[in-house]
């Protein structure tokens, strides 16, 4: 049974049903909570922390926390906004993001968040970690410089038997995404396209498809990401 639930977001009275996560319940009520690793229709991973909100004074990720009766949720307070900025800035300094030369620029969700937050420069030092580009697959490139380890590819891109094409290898700071070598070899065009689409950044690219959209026509050129997630309604 999905019960009706009442809760507040930044003191505004809201209602939803108990089968929703906070991100979805907020969206129903016209409130945008920034997300990055989350992908509609698959189990949330809670890996990026961009969606961090405060629920009854405690920090929680809004994409993994089910909504419940009586929750008092804070979304757009100064400290939470600063926290989210910091997470995005960390991702920019940890990877090697050369946006001017990136195929995904203008269509990239990480960049779109930075645009939305109007981040002028990250507060952390750039790491310039050594990463590589894997071009061994016949259909796709994998640029590890840009991977944010969001696990979207692992969770979404599966063959017809439900096996993931992508997986993590190694652990801790050495962790990275790799293909299942057998499934990777027989990757269909559709799955390759899908992998490029689900990757929020320019880490998975279909060969020959980069820079398809001219500047000015790309997803986030004129429309901020919150207005794409919640088109009609006004944001708070």
């Amino acid at each position: 049974m999905n019960n009706k639930v009442n809760f507040t977001i930044d003191d505004k009275e809201c209602t939803s049903t108990s089968d929703k996560y906070i991100v979805e319940a907020a969206r129903e009520n016209g409130v945008y909570i920034p997300t990055l690793c989350n992908y509609d229709g698959v189990k949330p991973a809670g890996s990026c922390r961009v969606c961090t909100v405060k629920v009854n004074k405690r920090y929680l990720t809004a994409c993994t926390t089910p909504i419940a009766e009586g929750m008092e949720i804070e979304v757009n307070t100064t400290d939470l906004q600063d926290f989210r900025n910091a997470v995005v800035e960390l991702l920019f300094t940890e990877g090697n993001h050369f946006c001017p030369a990136c195929e995904k620029s203008g269509n990239c969700e990480l960049q779109a968040l930075a645009y939305k937050f109007q981040i002028m420069a990250p507060r952390f030092p750039f790491q310039f970690n050594e990463r590589y580009i894997d071009a061994s697959n016949p259909k796709i490139y994998h640029d590890h410089n840009r991977c944010i380890l969001c696990k979207r590819c692992i969770r979404v891109v599966k063959d017809d038997k439900g096996k993931s094409v992508f997986a993590f290898e190694n652990r801790a700071r050495q962790i990275r995404i790799n293909f299942d070598s057998k499934l990777g070899e027989v990757l269909t065009d559709e799955l390759a396209e899908k992998a490029m689409e689900v990757c929020p950044v320019g880490s998975i690219l279909v060969k020959g498809k980069g820079f398809k959209d001219p500047i000015g026509t790309r997803k986030f050129d004129h429309t901020p990401i919150d207005k794409i997630v919640i088109p009609e309604k006004q944001n708070i």
Binding site: F98, P100, P125
Partner: protein, 181 residues
């Protein structure tokens, strides 16, 4: 009141940011009413002749000369601004940052396909600045007061920010002007 003084320079950049600066089009006529230029490629003044109010830095630091000039700008300018991706994060020159200097020099002067260098000489004249171990964003070398991203930064961004700084007004930047490409 005397007019604010602006200085600009291009370190490890491509002059694209300066071109974008000129893209403010006819507003440049307003600008020269409002400010005076000192050291800058725009008026070709090569050395500082006085202290300045605003310094615009294009490009990051890839060699010792860049560091020297940047430090000089910090001394001479009250407000220092990184304009463009290269000043902010190194930009394309920083693509070499995970490659050793030795490898870079070898590729450029010894092993490159089109290289003819029988004596295997690497540039070593003492007149030449030394290449740094990696390309540094300006704010990792001196304190920078503002950052204007973009490759190049949109002319409207440069104008909006300069205009606000000169007149001492607040500025609300439209979504379209803060871009990284």
């Amino acid at each position: 009141m005397s007019r604010p003084i602006i200085a600009t320079t291009s370190l490890a950049g491509c002059f694209g940011c300066h071109m974008s600066f000129l893209d403010i089009d006819e507003r440049i006529l307003d600008l020269i009413e409002l400010v005076e230029f000192n050291k800058s490629p725009i008026d070709d003044i090569k050395t500082f002749t006085k202290d300045c109010d605003i310094g615009l830095i294009e490009g990051g630091c890839c060699n010792t000369e860049n560091i020297h000039i940047l430090k000089e700008f910090r001394k001479k300018c009250k407000i220092l601004i990184s304009f463009g991706e290269c000043a902010i994060m190194g930009g394309l020159p920083a693509l070499r940052n995970d490659i050793s200097v030795k490898e870079c020099l070898a590729e450029a002067y010894l092993d490159g396909i089109s290289t003819v260098n029988k004596e295997e000489i690497l540039p070593n004249d003492e007149e030449l600045p030394m290449i740094l171990n990696k390309v540094y964003p300006c704010h990792e070398v001196v304190k920078m007061d503002y950052h204007l991203p973009g490759c190049p930064p949109r002319a409207d961004l440069i104008w909006d920010v300069l205009h606000a700084l000169i007149l001492g007004t607040d500025v609300e930047l439209p979504y379209e002007v803060v871009k990284y490409d």
